[in-house]
Amino acid sequence: MSLLRASGVARRYGDVEALAPTDVELAPGETVALVGPNGAGKSTLLAILAGALEPSAGRVECESRIGWVPQRPAHYARLTARENLELFARLEGADAARVDALLERFELPPDRPSGELSLGNRQRLNVALSLLAEPRILLLDEPTASLDPVQRRRVWEVVDDVRRDGGAVCFATQNVDEVAHADRVVALQHGRIVGATVEAAFG
């Protein structure tokens, strides 16, 4: 039984096919790595799975809460980290106590406008926002880019926590070393799945 199933999801921008019809399933306790060069369709597929982008075709079935870490930090630059977390916590109907827990866990300065934070801090806030609703499925788009080694380890700890709790994780990466964190590899090229190995993606 899968936690998330995407059937024939595709995305076109005019004449450009960003993602060909694609099937993806995420099983409980599974971690999947999406690998491929720039423009392979990894971000598009993750955004569709997260519900942030409407597919041109196909459908996504999911009964569980999804946490999404977009490639680019997605929060309000003039709000502080706390205010961003509080706003999205209210929108998601999450427990307000999660805000303090996440600020502490990711060591975020709570009262500075997030636009003034370092790129690493902004990416950590990005990850923290995805965890507000205690998701069973975590979708991460190159989550460790611009993080130092300590913070990278914390991200993978988050991934391990979700998986250990019976959730599923799917992350996109161009860093072949990070594939080691995955149980399964999905290789993408030119918007299509081309294999299940790193070599297939970059070969």
């Binding site: 921008y13 955004a47 997260a50 519900g51 942030a52 982008l53 409407e54 999804i66 999404w68 977009p70 680019r72 930090p73 997605a74 929060h75 309000y76 630059a77 003039r78 709000l79 205010e83 706003l87 999205f88 209210r90 929108l91 998601e92 406008p113 926002l129």
Partner: protein
């Protein structure tokens, strides 16, 4: 707390933390109020009109036995224009370079022809073909009308003096006029006969008839007269129209820019993707921007109205700012700003990027405003186009809310227009916002 309210509070907080934008928002109403006031003041200024006297009018003119101080008479009647005495060549030169908007020439022989009382001498009016010519022509027509009325009084007074001579007798040039009073007395001293009695009846009827002559002459000269008692009132510059235009201009400009910028910023900051993951519907997202425009619009309009009001009160103008109408005005502002906000959300979604959205909003708002300023008689096509844009309806709404004695019919009609336009814009904005996260 609803998603719309949360997003609205977030946008207001973001706005509060943008010092430059906040400063501009605070200064804007004052600047707009001043600019509109200056424009209105210019529109209200008297145009310069050259007065060319080719007849050499003396300081005092005698017409029909009545003496006029010509300078005083002209100054008295020239309420709507500033008359400048110039020679014919100077007047022609200044008319050509626009320093005067018209010339009025008193041709040679004017006074002689006027004195005959048998034909009407002509003043010659020359104007440019610019936009002011119609207005100046009307004002000079008014001036001639007023002059005629002054002269008319003189002619009537002269005629009445002659009628009184007939009634009571006296000297008329070299003649000694007997008069009806003396004639009646003379007839009374004669032996009474049927013929004398008939003459005395005639004298009686003639005296009664001549007694009515004064009223008859005035009534013939002025079949309808207009009584215009002087009273204190609000000045034109601070009148309803200017205040309505000032508020509508501010609200349209800022609501469009704010909503466009705030909508596009959701994409710039990458938050549109997060919001669209079931947290906020497209309708709620557009509504939050509409609400932002409405809230900020109401605050700015209130500031403008209060500034106007303080100026009016400080100037001691009776019947100035209708303070009791401000709540009604602000209802209209919320409505109009919301409608413009929907247009802004549409522009922001189409532009997809905050800077482009701001530029696009500025480019769009100017023609929208100018179309709304075009009177129906000036360019019917522009007037019709403006009916489908919110600005003109907002102006009428505000004007009626502020000063109409019974504004409800106008408010009802304009509210329906604004709601209709707003609904269309809201739907279009919702469709456009769908593309933002792509």
């Amino acid at each position: 707390m609803s998603a719309v309210r949360l997003l609205l509070l977030k946008d207001l907080r973001v706005l509060r933390r943008s010092p430059l934008l906040l400063g501009a928002l605070l200064a804007y109403p004052v600047v707009i109020a001043l600019l509109v006031g200056l424009v209105a003041g210019y529109a209200n200024a008297k145009p310069r009109v050259a007065w060319v006297d080719e007849d050499g009018l003396p300081p005092v003119v005698s017409v029909g036995g009545h003496r006029f101080h010509i300078g005083s008479v002209v100054d008295d009647v020239a309420q709507q224009v500033t008359l400048v005495k110039l020679s014919a060549s100077e007047a022609a030169h200044e008319l050509a370079n626009g320093k005067v908007v018209a010339t009025i020439t008193v041709p040679d022989g004017f006074l002689d022809e006027l004195g005959t009382g048998t034909s009407s001498p002509q003043l010659v009016l020359r104007t440019t073909s610019g936009g002011l010519s119609q207005r100046v022509t009307e004002q000079v027509q008014s001036l001639v009308y007023q002059l005629n009325r002054k002269l008319q009084s003189g002619f009537i007074a002269t005629n009445l003096r002659e009628v009184q001579l007939l009634e009571h007798g006296g000297k008329f040039g070299t003649y000694d006029v007997l008069g009806l009073d003396t004639m009646d007395a003379t007839l009374a001293g004669l032996p009474q006969s049927e013929r004398v009695a008939r003459l005395r009846d005639f004298v009686k009827v003639a005296r009664l008839a001549l007694a009515q002559t004064g009223n008859a002459l005035h009534a013939t000269a002025n079949p309808i007269s207009l009584a215009q008692p002087k009273q204190k009132g609000r000045t034109w510059v601070l009148s309803a129209q200017v205040q309505s235009y000032g508020i509508a201009l501010t609200v349209t400009f800022l609501a469009l820019l704010l909503a466009a910028g705030a909508t596009a910023a959701e994409r710039d900051e990458g938050t549109i993707g997060r919001l669209r993951r079931g947290l906020v519907s497209l309708g709620q997202l557009v509504t939050s921007k509409v609400a932002l425009a409405a809230v900020v619009g109401v605050m700015l309009a209130a500031a403008i109205a209060v500034v106007f009001g303080i100026v009016v009160e400080a100037g001691g103008v009776e019947g100035g700012e209708p303070w009791a109408r401000l709540p009604l005005l602000l209802v209209g502002v919320a409505l109009a700003a919301g409608v413009v906000g929907a247009a802004g959300a549409l522009l922001g979604a189409l532009a997809r990027e905050a800077r482009t959205a701001s530029l696009l909003a500025v480019l769009v708002v100017l023609p929208v405003v100018f179309l709304g300023l075009v009177p129906r008689g000036a360019l019917a096509a522009a007037w019709w186009v403006s009916r489908f844009l919110p600005f003109a309806h907002a102006v009428r709404w505000f004007s009626a809310a502020l000063y109409d004695t019974s504004p409800w019919r106008t408010l009802g009609v304009e509210t329906l227009w604004l709601l209709g336009i707003g609904a269309v814009l809201w739907l279009l904005a919702g469709r456009a916002v769908r593309t933002l996260s792509a």
